[in-house]
Amino acid sequence: MNRRSRISRWVLLGYCVYLILPLYWLLTMALRSNADIAGTFELLPSSPTLANFAEILTNPVWYQGFANSLSYVVLNTLISVSVALPAAYVFSRYRFLGDRQLFFWLLTNRMAPPAVFLLPFFQLYSSIGLFDTPLAVALAHCLFTVPLSVWILEGFMSGVPTEIDDMARIDGHSFWFFFTRIFLPINRSAIGVTVFFCFMFSWVELLLARTLTGSEAKPIVVVMTRTVSASGMDWGVLAAAGVFTVLPGILVVWFVRQHLVKGFALGRV
């Protein structure tokens, strides 16, 4: 039986239009010069230009910002996944003293409002000399990406039967061999989904990234906010930068789209 009723299909269609319109507008703005934007209102850019995109790709402030963002996102993802893997494994396989409490405590960090940690983070990272480095932002983002990674990985690993562990032991494999050569390959898609979510939450965050960086490690999202206040409203370049920040997300989601539904089905997001 077809569960898709006519009404819900129309709502879906309407919602897609609602989703696309602001994105379309961002794109047209990015294709127009500032004088053009201020002067006339038009639905289709009549004299499209790539000058705004060229500005982003040639101005070091912009492309450095892009590189800074990518470097802390990658660092964060590496740290989060590598510490979360063993933890998720033991949570899915063993009962131990305080396991449920620990799991809950980890989760509360996912829920903690970043605004609460603003000041102490600034002081903590300044005092150990990490302020204004990508590593500082990567570590700060671990606050929510590590609990999230443990949470997602544990959900997937619990679904892997423990018989596999026993069989590897009977076959005489060492634990290390079992974990790296047998267990991790089985959980490939789980790791994929985890990487996706670490990437996502680190990429979209602004508040901590802004607080922990000065001029050296300034991420692209921060460059965007400062450009607005400094040189008046450079709408065209701002929109072009916006387009560039949307692209990595679309790419990532295209690659993990099948695993994504499974990840959501576990309700572990």
Partner: protein, 290 residues
């Protein structure tokens, strides 16, 4: 959690790295905040112990109470729109094929846009002079201006949040729907159930788990909202769209009122903790049942 688990306290070795890193990025800062919240800090060498003074002051501060009430109003509005809308969208999704993949990517796209860019997109989109939405509304004869009219600012923020986050609810509900066995639909059809009855008695009970998660995630995340209103309205006009996080950030970084900001943080954190506990117990109960 899994069925036949072995009891072994050596498992702590596996959790240790996570423990260390989260302690570093979570516990130390939190303790610093608690420490600040009971002191009056004039500069970093002159400080007095003031006990619960800041807590009393914060809870009695009309601006805190206002921001809190606005926050509740906003979160409630967000939930009331996004949850039903998300369910309807999920029911309209095709289950396979290229169209399904493209729709999934489109739905997931807003979730992956940096939060300040979401604010920027909506700023460009809703401005009465250059924005598609702003100009269109003004053409229709509505004097729409979100920078001067509090009601318009609220509606724009709400529209933006719906744009940004309804996909999350829709994707969760969609994942929940894919787990409904086809046999259930066939049985319902044989019984001559109406569309509404199918939804109410076949789908909704199986969606309960994911919906609880969707509600709590949206509740908690909308409770922490900061970046999007910061970019779009800056909390204005006046203070009409200043929510908790923004008020806190102004206090802590803008005015450097360490003590009161810390007390504020602790109170804020306790609320979030309460939500987290509700979230955790409901997820775990859900897993124990299944």
């Amino acid at each position: 959690m899994a069925q036949n688990k072995v009891k072994d306290n050596r498992a702590w070795i596996g959790v240790l790295p996570v423990l260390l890193i989260v302690a570093f990025s979570g516990v130390i800062p939190l303790m610093t905040v608690v420490n600040y919240s009971v002191q009056d800090i004039l500069d970093f060498n002159t400080r007095f112990f003031v006990g619960l003074e800041w807590y009393r002051e914060t809870l009695a501060d009309p601006r805190f109470v206002d921001a809190f009430l606005r926050q509740i109003g906003f979160s409630a509005a967000v939930l009331l729109v996004e949850i039903p809308l998300g369910i309807v969208i999920a029911r309209g999704m095709p289950t396979d094929g290229l169209r399904a993949s493209l729709l999934l990517v489109l739905l997931a796209t807003p979730l992956l846009i940096p939060w300040n860019v979401v604010g920027t997109i909506w700023q460009i989109y809703a401005r009465p002079d250059i924005g598609l939405l702003g100009v269109a509304l003004n053409e229709l004869g509505i004097a729409f201006n979100y920078t001067s009219e509090p009601l318009h600012a609220w509606l724009t923020l709400l529209a933006m949040d719906i744009w940004h986050w309804t996909s999350l609810v829709a994707l969760l509900a969609f994942a929940g729907l894919t787990s409904v066995p086809a046999a259930c639909y066939q049985a319902a059809e044989l019984d001559g159930a109406s569309k509404w009855q199918v939804f109410r008695f076949v789908e909704l009970p199986r969606l309960k788990g994911v919906l609880v998660i969707a509600v709590l995630l949206r509740l908690m995340d909308s409770f922490m909202i900061y970046t999007e209103p910061f970019v779009l309205t800056g909390g204005g006009p006046g203070n009409t769209t200043t929510f908790l996080s923004q008020y806190l950030a102004t206090m802590a970084v803008g005015q450097f009122d360490l003590g009161p900001a810390a007390a504020f943080s602790v109170i804020y954190f306790l609320f979030i903790l309460l939500f987290s506990w509700l979230f955790y117990t409901s997820v775990m109960r859900n897993e124990d049942e299944s």
